[in-house]
């Protein structure tokens, strides 16, 4: 079946280091891939998206890489800060369905 999943459930990094969160997907029909951040007790918050015909997109302190050959997506966070501690989800967006399909999530822990 179709799925969007993550390689590691928990990632622990030192404050100031770069973080890389990975995601594998199985369905190639998506138009966009989106990363969301969810802090404890809150709903998911949009971080960045990438269109399926791109391989890289940069935002403020974040970069998303898309490798369609191996169906792999990653989120890179530069100079990780304590406020980055959260669960990160990748999600698949297909324009003809209107809905997002989420992966299981990676917990990012930032050590001071």
């Amino acid at each position: 079946g179709e799925s969007v999943g993550l390689h590691l459930p928990t990632l622990s990094v030192q404050e100031g280091d770069n973080s890389i969160i990975n995601c594998a997907y199985s369905n190639s029909a998506s138009d966009y891939f989106i990363w969301y951040k969810q802090e404890s007790g809150k709903g998911p918050q949009f971080i960045i998206d990438i269109r399926s015909n791109m391989d890289k997109r940069q935002g403020q302190r974040v970069t998303v890489l898309l490798n369609k050959t191996v169906k792999h997506l990653s989120l890179q966070i530069a100079a990780t800060q304590p406020g980055d501690s959260a669960v990160y989800f990748c999600a698949e967006d297909r324009s003809n369905t209107g809905k997002l399909i989420f992966g299981q999530g990676t917990t990012l822990q930032v050590k001071p």
């Binding site: 709903g43 998911p44 269109r51 989800f89 209107g98 997002l100 399909i101 989420f102 299981q104 999530g105």
Partner: protein, 118 residues
């Protein structure tokens, strides 16, 4: 409003009770979504409205789940005869109908309603 508002934030129900969860989307947002998030899991799609029309309800787990959005703004998710497996956070999200040029259909989520069924 400034964001998506959900109520109640916490709900404890006895097994067999009916519950109703409310969502106030961002003003002007045409699309509204309900997701279910079990502990430690990613959100799972339940249903989707465009204005008052329910375009997709394929994610509703059983006929005990019912959602409505009668005037195309506020939505209610109703769960009848609640079971323990219904315990989860129910997330509501809204989005603009039209996709921004070159962008994805970005959803703005509420904080969720945490349902605990005893």
């Amino acid at each position: 409003g400034a964001g998506v508002s959900q109520s109640p934030r916490y709900k404890v129900a006895k097994r067999g009770q009916d519950v109703a969860l409310r969502c106030d989307p961002i003003s002007g947002h045409v699309s509204l979504f309900w997701y279910q998030q079990a502990l430690g899991q990613g959100p799972e799609f339940l249903t989707y409205f465009q204005n008052e029309a329910q375009l997709d309800k394929s994610g509703l787990p059983s006929d005990r789940f019912f959602a409505e959005r009668p005037e195309g703004s506020v939505s209610t998710l109703k769960i009848q005869r609640t079971q323990q497996e219904d315990s989860a956070v129910y997330l509501c999200a809204s989005s603009l109908r039209e996709r921004p040029r070159g962008g994805a259909n970005v959803l703005t989520f509420g904080a969720g309603s945490r349902l605990t069924v005893l």
